[in-house]
Amino acid sequence: MSYVVARELTKYFDLSDPWVVRKITGRKKQILTAVDGVSFSIKKGETYALVGESGSGKSTIAQMVSGLLRPSMGSVLIDGHDFHNNNIDGSSLRNMRQRIQMVFQSPYASLNPRWKVGDIILEPIRSFQLIADRQEQQKRVAELLDQVGLSPRDINKYPHEFSGGQRQRISIARALASQPEIIICDEPTSALDVSVQAQVLNLLKELQHEFLLTYLFISHDLAVISTMANTIGVLKNGQLVEEARGPVLLKNPRHDYTKMLLSSAPDIGSIKT
């Protein structure tokens, strides 16, 4: 069952100079097509990976799927509901927000440095009004910390007291707090060391199996994507140039761009004796 569907997602950014400047200098309007008619669908419980270089549009797609950026054209359907539909009321919108959360690239910028870890993880629970009782709230936060491999004693600590990998775990705990069905992982391990990356990727996989989570996984790293993805979509300049099940794409890439990416990417497996 296709749980997340992106249909002809398109986004234009107007980079033109102000009208007055254009009239004087005679320059034309400049529209950047960041995303051009991208369509894909993700089955419940699976991981769809979007791979691309800078300027490919993958971050913009992540923002549109997360509901934070309105597409210029096209739609995002979560379990059949259009995320950007103007007609949905406040409570339906909140309901949708609860189902989809995000884990970000930077372990440093993704947690408010002035908030305690416990409050950071509690915030979604309070915002979506999931648990009213204080004690139950504390229990839930402790449970979440435990699920990501941290200790309940960390509730009163501040983010700067943790390492990069631990901060990503806190981010994951926060993402899980609202019991979402979909998590968008935007380069979640790009800023982490190799050994820490392995821990975080394994954690993401375990959580996916335990809670039947659906992942949209954004990355530029083909090796990481090989490990994580059921399906891989290759983006170039805002267009989806190839899409296939992971093992299929890695073994038999069709598009020249995919082939180029696969051959260029540094791979530890390339070592010859």
């Binding site: 990998g165 050994s195 394994n202 990417a265 791979d267 497996g269 070592i271």
Partner: protein, 325 residues
């Protein structure tokens, strides 16, 4: 170990180098008793995770470290000359450096030609016109159209800028280039081009390169030999193919196993994970720095810091002659 190597004199010799950080209530070693060599015409990889000391080592070689950091002991010898106390004779001339971010390595207000000419004429006594000619040749060598010699840095893409930076590093005709994460900020396709360029320069010019990176894939594709650093110490060193295919040190094994591969079978497998994390340099465990995370740690590992065995691995288990599988 190739017997050939033993005959050739090393270009750069690092001997028991230690770099300390000395602040009001902190004193610890960022680099601890590090020794290795770089030979002419080779690419040596310096790999490690954050805090392992690899960038610190690169900076120390060039004498670029400032208080509260300082070289507390050890020697650095280049072409027979000691440079650890005073690197001014070789910095920028016999050894040059490339950094991670091409955006800040180039002066945005000057044309690339002018920047190249300045470097050339600082080290080689030739006329401006001759220097310009050399600059154009350099640009061609790194794959940039020499006609763009009067362009400003901002007109180039990230990858092209890094090529300009490489040209600047080549300008004084160095015997050794230290490249600190030269491709981390670049796209994958561009990354491959830059690494190929570095390899080509090494083969064609005989310039040695120390390639500092955290990326095992880059090590696999680019380097001849590799030194693995952990918590400021050398864990393992050897031919890249040997170290990656048959790692001897448990940390190297863990690192290799934890690195994802571009492979159709990767999805089915769980990535190996080394338990725990690299210790804070202020609190390095006694004995072997890795022992708390090591499956094979013995009591000796907890008490004594292991030396380098067989010029290969700093692990007490190598001494017993048994392969840790």
């Amino acid at each position: 170990m190739s017997g050939n190597r033993e005959m050739v004199a090393p270009l750069l010799e690092i001997s028991r180098l230690s770099v300390v950080l000395d602040k009001r209530h902190q004193r610890f070693k960022a680099v601890d008793d590090l020794s290795f060599r770089v030979f002419p015409g080779e690419i040596l990889g310096l790999v490690g995770e954050s805090g392992a000391g690899k960038s610190m080592t690169g900076s120390a070689i060039l004498g670029l470290i400032e208080p509260p950091l300082s070289i507390s002991s050890g020697e650095i010898t280049f072409d027979g000359v000691r440079i650890d106390q005073d690197a001014s004779s070789i910095r920028g001339s016999k050894i040059s450096m490339i950094f991670q971010d091409p955006l800040v390595s180039l002066n945005p207000l000057r044309k690339i030609g002018d920047q190249l000419v300045e470097v050339i004429r600082t080290h080689i006594n030739i006329s401006k016109a001759e220097a310009f000619g050399r600059a154009k040749t350099l640009l061609a060598e790194v794959g940039i159209d020499p006609g763009r010699i009067n362009a400003y840095p901002h007109t180039f893409s990230g990858g092209m800028r890094q090529r300009v930076v490489i040209a600047l590093a080549l300008a004084p005709e160095p015997a050794l280039i230290i490249a600190d994460e030269p491709t981390t900020a670049l796209d994958v396709s561009v990354q491959a081009q830059i690494l190929d360029l570095l390899k080509r320069l090494c083969r064609e010019r005989g310039t040695s390169i120390i390639l500092i990176t955290h990326d095992m894939g880059v090590i696999a594709e680019t380097t001849d030999r590799v030194a693995v650093l952990y918590a400021g110490r050398l864990a393992e060193i050897g031919k890249t193919s040997a170290v990656l295919k048959n790692p001897r040190h448990p940390y190297t094994k863990g690192l290799v196993a934890a690195t994802p591969r571009i492979d159709a079978n990767s999805f089915e497998k769980r990535l190996f994970q080394i338990p725990g994390a690299m210790p804070d340099l202020e609190n390095i465990p006694k004995g072997c720095a890795f022992h708390p995370r090591c499956d094979f740690a013995s009591t000796q590992c907890q008490k004594q810091q292991p030396p380098l065995f067989e010029d290969r691995s700093a692990c007490w288990l190598s001494n017993e002659g048994s392969e840790t599988s």
